[in-house]
C-alpha cells in the first residue's frame, strides 16, 4: 500500500474519531457532573435537542431534500441521507407499526461507541442519547413532534442498536415551538 493511500484512510478515520472521542469526553464529563445515569441521559437528550434544532438548517442546505410528504419518506431521508451525511452509516428502516406512525432504525454499527465500554456502575446510561435529542429537535423544526428512544443498545448487550421513532403530531406553524 502506498503511503498516499495510508494517509487518506487515516485522515478519514481520524475525522470520525474526532467526533467519537469528543463525544466520549462529553459523556465522561457529564458522568462526573451528575450523580445518576438518568440525569446524564436527560442532559444528553437536551443537548442533542439544541444541536438538532440548528443541524436541520445545515442539513437542508446541504442536501437540497424537499419537503417530505409522509412519515415514510421522512424515515427514508433520515436513514439514507442524514445518517450517511453526518455519521457515515446507513441504518435500515424496519418494524413499521400497522398505523404507519412508528418505525425502527437499526444500526449495525454505531460510530459513537467505537472503543467504548460501559462500566458496571452505569448500567442505566443511554450512552448515545444525544442522537434521540438531535432527531427530536431537528424534526420539530420541520413541524413534526416525535418521540425517539433507544429500544436496543449494543453497549448494553444487545446485538444491534435500535432507535424507535414515533410520530406524535404535526406542529402548527403559528404555535410556539419547543418545550425546552
Amino acid at each position: 500500500m502506498s503511503r498516499q493511500s495510508n494517509r487518506a484512510t487515516d485522515s478519514k478515520k481520524m475525522n470520525s474519531e474526532l467526533f467519537t472521542l469528543t463525544y466520549g469526553a462529553l459523556v465522561t464529563q457529564l458522568c462526573k457532573d451528575y450523580e445518576n445515569d438518568e440525569e446524564v441521559n436527560k442532559q444528553l437528550d437536551k443537548m442533542g435537542y439544541n444541536i438538532g434544532v440548528r443541524l436541520i438548517e445545515d442539513f437542508l442546505a446541504r442536501s437540497s431534500v424537499g419537503r417530505c410528504h409522509d412519515f415514510r419518506e421522512t424515515a427514508d431521508v433520515i436513514a439514507k441521507v442524514a445518517f450517511k451525511m453526518y455519521l457515515g452509516i446507513t441504518p435500515s428502516v424496519t418494524n413499521w407499526s400497522p398505523a404507519g406512525d412508528e418505525f425502527s432504525l437499526i444500526l449495525e454499527s454505531n460510530p459513537l461507541v467505537d472503543f467504548v465500554e460501559l462500566p458496571d456502575n452505569h448500567s442505566n446510561l443511554v450512552y448515545s442519547n444525544l442522537l434521540c435529542g438531535v432527531l427530536r429537535g431537528a424534526l420539530e423544526m420541520v413541524q413534526m413532534a416525535v418521540d425517539v428512544r433507544f429500544a436496543q443498545d449494543t453497549l448494553r448487550g444487545d446485538n444491534v442498536t435500535e432507535i424507535r421513532m414515533k410520530f406524535i403530531k404535526r406542529i402548527e406553524e403559528n404555535l410556539p415551538a419547543g418545550d425546552e
Binding site: 478519514k12 481520524m14 467526533f19 453526518y86
Partner: protein
C-alpha cells in the same frame, strides 16, 4: 466548499457538538458569583476535554508514521497533517524562537467562523479556543512533548495558538 470528503459533513457535526459543549459547560457553572473563578473553571474543563481527545487522536493516527527528527518536525506535522485532518486546512503560519516557543497561526479557524469577522464577540472567543488548546497539548503529549498551550485572538476568525514546550 466541502468537495474534499465526498458527501460527508462530519466536520459540521463536530462543530455543532463543540458549540453545545461550550454552552453547556458555561451554563453549568453560571451560578457562581465570582466571574473570574467561573471562567477559569470552565476554560480548564474544556481544555481538559480537548487534552484527552488530542491524545486519543494521536494514538490512532501515527501508528504507521516514521519517527520525528526533532521538535520542529513534530510541530510541522501538527501544522500540516494533524490540523488538516481535523480542521480541513493547514495552519497558515508557523513561527518559533527556537527556544521552545511556537506560534501557530490559523487565519480562518474553523471553530470561530460562526462569528462575524472582526472585533465583535472578542470576549467570547477564549471559550471556543480552550478545547482546541487542549487538543494541541494532548497531541504533543502523546508525541513526547510536554507543553503549555495558550491562544490569542485579535481579529476573528484568525487566531494564534502558542505551545510552549
Amino acid at each position: 466548499m466541502d468537495v474534499l470528503f465526498s458527501d460527508m459533513a462530519d466536520d459540521a457535526l463536530f462543530e455543532f457538538l463543540h458549540m453545545e459543549i461550550v454552552a453547556h459547560v458555561y451554563k453549568e457553572h453560571a451560578t457562581r458569583d465570582d466571574i473570574d473563578k467561573e471562567r477559569v473553571t470552565c476554560i480548564s474543563t474544556l481544555e481538559a476535554m480537548g487534552f484527552r481527545v488530542g491524545q486519543g487522536l494521536i494514538e490512532r493516527f501515527t501508528k504507521d508514521c516514521p519517527t520525528f527528527k526533532d521538535d520542529l518536525d513534530i510541530m510541522k506535522f501538527l501544522c500540516k497533517d494533524f490540523w488538516s485532518t481535523i480542521f480541513k486546512k493547514q495552519i497558515d503560519n508557523l513561527r518559533t524562537n527556537h527556544q521552545g516557543t511556537y506560534v501557530l497561526q490559523d487565519n480562518k479557524f474553523a471553530l470561530l467562523t460562526q462569528f462575524s469577522s472582526g472585533k465583535q464577540y472578542l470576549e467570547e472567543a477564549p471559550k471556543y479556543l480552550a478545547f482546541s488548546c487542549g487538543l494541541i497539548r494532548g497531541a504533543l503529549s502523546n508525541l513526547g512533548l510536554e507543553s503549555v498551550v495558550t491562544a490569542e485572538v485579535s481579529l476573528m476568525p484568525s487566531c494564534k495558538f502558542m505551545p510552549f514546550i
